[in-house]
Amino acid sequence: MFRDSGHLIRPALVFLAGLGMFLVIRAAVVPKHFGQYGHYRPGALDLVRQRPIAYAGQDTCVMCHDDVGKTRAAGKHAHVACEGCHGPLAKHADDPAALTPKLPDVATLCVRCHEKDAAKPKNFPQVVSAEHSGGALCNSCHQPHSPQL
């Protein structure tokens, strides 16, 4: 019965074989649990969570440096994070001897926030540094952890 159309079965078989191979490969290669929470590999959540932490967070800093913490809490910089000025120090928090933090450069640090600028909120403390201190470093008058005079 298939004498004159029998040849058509052949490409069909080639396709079926291809489909079969594809399904086997797919079963072997698709990541485990793919689709568990949505159309993605749930292992990705763990991958992102495993990234190293660079900033310890102020709550961690005051655990050891509670004296500075108290000074800061009583002043205008109460809500300025330690690492906002001192840089990322999770490594130091993990092992204080392994990383000794360098003191920030006062000449460039303070003006980044406090240089007067029209776009800053009016009630934010800001000065024209050239007129304000006549070239003297900010910490020659202001104590950084409790800066109000």
Partner: protein, 387 residues
């Protein structure tokens, strides 16, 4: 000040993400769709006059389709992971459908149709050649040497059915590329429901023009006579398709200008400055209006054969440039302006880099090399010349 940036761009927008290779990809799939539609003109719509280009169009479509995924692979950050689109396709992503549409079109439409069309030659050559060629032909027969009149009649019926399925498949193959752009609400240059249709008709225009050019060149190379009735008919269908394409693009332009929404001023400025050369000069004037005038002239007046041949070749060459420019303007143009509508950037094209000009040129030459091999294996002319 960032070099190449005027005004303000979001910091991550300065660098273009989709490069020359992404311009190339819709151009290539467009040629595939267009060539196939031309082939279907004869097979399904019984336009006898274009019969001489039937097999040529099939092989053209196949040559370009085989190259189509390559610019995408070169563009991917991780081409080795591209198989993931088959393993875990994301149902909401138009791009995920690419793998399956491509595979469907390649396997079921193009390969089956080419096989059915060339079976008599394949079987004959599997018996008459020797050595490596014989092995290739024997593999291509898939083990069957039944070319009796009854079998060939069945082939013809099945081929007809495949072509009928193939027409919407060709539309899908290229239409979804337009949808990939047209459905991005974040980009006002791309986001329009007209995009798939504009892409499709410009694809048909470029495909028909490509087949016409290839036909003329092939006949010249083989020193064989050009069937003018065929050429005139192809040019006529090119003209009709081009009119529709032009209308659609003008509709998009007029609509945008009239509605004049938030994005309009920024886009308008971009067209008048950074896209002036590629959009107004290359795409519209040289690539659309000039060929339309040439083709229209041939519908109104009768020129000599030699003049008509020259005009068709000129019109088709300009068309190919124009359609390429259109892809460029869509892809590159869509990334030259900021989504804040406050600035513009510049496209820095490399030369011998992964996504540079050199690989693009090589990728455009590759289909012709493949076509040369295919037409050597599966001669597109014997059938018509015997008749």
């Amino acid at each position: 000040m960032i070099p190449g940036v005027d005004g303000f761009m979001y910091p991550n927008e300065v660098e273009l993400q989709w490069s020359l290779l992404i311009v190339l990809y819709p151009f290539i799939t467009g040629l595939v769709a267009g060539a196939f539609i031309l082939a279907s003109l004869e097979r399904v719509f019984k336009v006898e006059a274009v019969r001489p280009t039937y097999r040529l169009a099939l092989l053209t479509a196949l040559s370009f389709l085989l190259v189509a995924p390559l610019p995408l692979q070169l563009h991917l950050g991780h081409p080795e992971r591209s198989f993931e689109m088959y393993l875990t396709p994301h149902g909401s992503s138009a791009m995920a459908m690419f793998g399956f549409v491509y595979l469907w079109y390649l396997m079921v439409v193009l390969l089956v149709e080419v096989w059915l069309e060339f079976r008599p030659e394949i079987v004959r050559l599997s018996k008459s050649t020797t050595g490596l060629r014989r092995l290739i032909y024997r593999l291509l027969t898939l083990g069957s040497d039944n070319v009796s009149p009854a079998a060939l009649r069945i082939d013809d019926k099945v081929g007809y059915a495949v072509t009928v399925i193939g027409i919407p498949s060709a539309f899908l193959l290229h239409g979804y590329v337009g949808f990939i752009f047209g459905s991005v609400k974040a980009n006002p240059w791309w986001s329009t429901p007209l995009m798939p249709i504009v892409f499709l008709f410009s694809a048909m225009v470029s495909g028909i023009a490509a087949v016409l050019l290839l036909y003329v060149v092939s006949m010249k190379v083989r020193r064989a006579p050009i069937d003018m009735r065929c050429l005139d008919t192809v040019a006529k269908y090119l003209f009709y398709t081009f009119v529709i394409d032009f209308t659609l693009e003008m509709l998009d332009l007029i609509h945008r200008t009239y509605e004049s929404d938030e994005s309009f001023r920024s886009l308008d400025f971009m067209v008048h400055t950074r896209l002036w050369g590629s959009q107004v000069i290359l795409q519209i004037v040289l690539g659309t209006l000039a060929p339309l005038v040439i083709l229209a002239a041939n519908q109104l007046w009768r020129f000599t054969e030699a003049a008509r041949r020259k005009m068709y070749v000129a019109a088709c060459s300009l068309t190919m440039i124009g359609i390429f420019a259109m892809r460029w303007n869509v892809v590159i143009g869509g990334q030259l302006f900021s989504k804040s509508f406050l600035g513009y950037t510049t496209y820095k094209m490399g030369f011998a880099t992964r996504e540079g000009l050199l690989p693009a040129i090589l990728l455009m030459l590759l289909p012709f090399a493949i076509f040369f091999v295919l037409s050597n294996l599966l001669p597109p002319w014997e059938k018509t010349e015997k008749a």
